[in-house]
């Protein structure tokens, strides 16, 4: 057993086992991660809120249950950082927005209920792009989160706070959400594992909606085994989310040791276009060689509509957002501006409460759905979305998993793209198509640039084939050592 000083380096699997067995108290685990956060968080700003008293109270309650002889759950005493888009009863829920600055959740999201039932310790509220609208975590109304490998660079987004919390070992696990790459892209840029779950795999009940035909909740971790552990806790049917799928939840841990011998891997040529940074390309090609060396078969495949992913995504997502964000109206639970009548209460409360990126997306969506433009924009995007799905269906007829880059480039300096209307959107070009098709996809640490910035490799698989992703990631992890490197000593 390692010393308390190094406890923050232990895996979630080991921590849960040690806590359930009584070898470590939940309190000692919580204190170790709180101490770690106290040391590194001031330079990173991953958390919007981290209440040590609330953390310790949960840990003490878990210890008391064990002391009474109760059997603890699969995440016994394991801290899990939560993206501040997911409701946790009696905790703040800002979504990174001024309009929810004072909001306190009156109920738990489904995934939070699952975490509590598994004896996890909810470990703070992590920063995000406002309402998950951004790819750098710089559109948050409250703070800018820094990349732990180089604090002058962004961590990716929108779940940047969750990615950084795990990368800097302030929490062994975290939850994020994805609409167009918001877990995989920051996972890649921060050198951790991040999983975009199949649409319908995890209930969104209690997660603030951005684009309802795309949104999914998923885990961050520092190993495939830890990712599998958290996925197993949050996956499954919940009738309060009508899109929650009635699919059995497999034993994800059982897939980890299966190896990739005979696995058919497809390499989509459109994922290696001119816009992909040479170091990213070389890293992913090396990862493919590694998988081949482990016994996987590789073949070239084509996803011909990949280049249309960005326009389709930005029409579909913003159209749905323009409807979903209508609920923030100054009347029921948001901040409210002074106004002489109801009309001005709406326009001023929303005008004061939303930042520029959120306004831009509401405006684009409202425009795309407005009379005279609907067929040319929204309907057209939905049709091309069908073609993108068909591309994946055709590819998965011949292969088990697809491999490519996650983001076209490593983390760039803070401010480099957030003010450029299209540059930020183009960072999602290799991730949005998985959301549009509803499949599952994972980002796995695969190497570093010359300047020691992490690069992830993306694995994509058909709906509900998370075991295939985990099996592939675990085999790659066992053959490499990228995921064991830490940004901050």
């Amino acid at each position: 057993m390692s010393s308390v000083d190094a406890l923050h380096r232990e895996s979630a699997v080991d921590l849960a086992r040690a806590c359930a067995a009584g070898e470590r108290s939940a309190r000692s685990i919580a204190d170790a991660f709180l101490a770690r956060a106290a040391s590194v968080e001031p330079g990173l700003d991953a958390f919007l809120e981290l209440d040590a008293a609330r953390v310790r109270a949960q840990a003490d309650a878990i210890d008391a249950r064990r002391d009474r002889g109760e059997t603890l759950g699969p995440l016994a005493g394991v801290p899990v950082a939560i993206k501040d888009l997911i409701a946790e009863r009696d905790a703040p829920l800002t979504c990174g927005s001024r309009i929810l600055e004072n909001y306190v959740s009156p109920y738990d999201a489904h995934v939070i209920e699952r975490l509590r039932a598994a004896d996890a310790v909810l470990f703070g509220r992590t920063n995000l792009d406002e309402f998950a609208m951004g790819s750098t975590t710089e559109t948050s109304a409250f703070k800018v989160t820094k990349n732990p490998w180089d604090p002058a660079r962004f961590p990716g987004g929108s779940s940047g706070g969750s990615a950084v919390a795990v990368a800097a070992r302030m929490a062994p696990l975290a939850l994020g959400t994805e609409t167009g790459g918001s877990i995989r892209q920051p996972a890649s840029l921060c050198g951790v594992y991040g999983l975009k779950t199949t649409y319908g795999r995890v209930s969104r009940y209690g997660a603030a909606a951005y684009a309802s035909s795309l949104d999914q909740i998923g885990p961050f971790a520092t190993s495939a085994a830890d990712l599998a552990l958290l996925l197993g806790v949050i996956a499954g049917r919940d009738t309060r989310d009508s899109t929650s799928a009635d699919e059995p939840v497999p034993d994800y841990a059982a897939s980890l040791g299966q190896g990739v011998e005979g696995l058919r891997i497809g390499v989509p040529r459109e994922f290696f276009g001119d816009g992909v940074d040479p170091e990213v390309r070389a890293t992913v090609e090396r990862a493919i060689e590694t998988l081949r060396g482990l016994g996987a078969e590789t073949r070239d495949v084509s996803l011909p509509h990949t280049e249309y992913g960005i326009p389709v995504y930005y029409l579909v997502a913003t159209s749905e957002a323009s409807s979903n964000l209508a609920r923030y109206d100054g009347v029921h639970y948001t901040t409210r501006a002074d106004a002489p009548d109801l009309e001005h209460l709406y326009t001023r409360s929303r005008g004061d409460g939303f930042g520029l990126e959120v306004k831009k997306r509401i405006m684009l969506g409202t425009f795309a759905l407005s009379a005279g433009y609907y067929d040319a924009y929204y309907k057209k995007a939905q049709q091309v979305r069908t073609l993108i799905r068909r591309d994946f269906d055709a590819a998965f007829a011949d292969v088990d998993v697809l491999v490519g880059p996650v983001a076209p480039a490593p983390a760039a300096p803070l401010g480099a793209v957030v003010d450029d209307a299209l540059a930020m959107y183009m960072m999602d070009v290799l991730t949005v198509t998985a959301n549009l098709a509803g499949i599952c996809a994972l980002s796995c640490p695969a190497g570093f640039t010359e300047g020691r910035l992490p690069i992830g490799v993306q694995l994509l698989a058909p709906p509900f084939a998370e075991p295939t992703l985990l099996r592939t990631a675990a085999a790659f992890e066992a053959a490499t050592d990228y995921s064991r490197e830490e940004p901050i000593a």
Partner: protein, 97 residues
């Protein structure tokens, strides 16, 4: 660039106040984004059905069983203004109410 009058009418539809700097940014940014979106015109979508949702599942009726809902006090917990058990708003039609 998009026509500034389009930005103004869409902002009105979306119930969004824009300050002058934001209005200028949106005129420019929405123009760039819409120009990029034009690339969809290259795709032949004749007879291609729409995808509004990635799941094959269709609607089913939930069992007609009462379940607990959020208590009124909890529902009003974050209200910016209230009167008793109601949300309070300024007059719908203007004036001093």
């Amino acid at each position: 660039m998009v026509d500034p009058s389009v930005v103004d009418s869409v902002a009105a539809l979306a119930r969004l106040d824009l300050d002058p700097a934001q209005r200028e940014r949106l005129i420019s940014d929405l123009g760039k984004i819409l120009a990029h979106i034009e690339m969809l015109d290259r795709v032949d979508t004749t007879d291609v059905p729409i995808t509004s949702h990635p799941l094959d599942a269709t609607d089913v009726d939930a069992a007609d069983e009462p379940i607990a809902s959020l208590p009124v006090a909890e529902g009003l917990r974050n209200a910016p203004d209230r009167e008793g058990d109601l949300f309070r708003v300024p007059p719908v039609l203007g004036g001093d109410g």
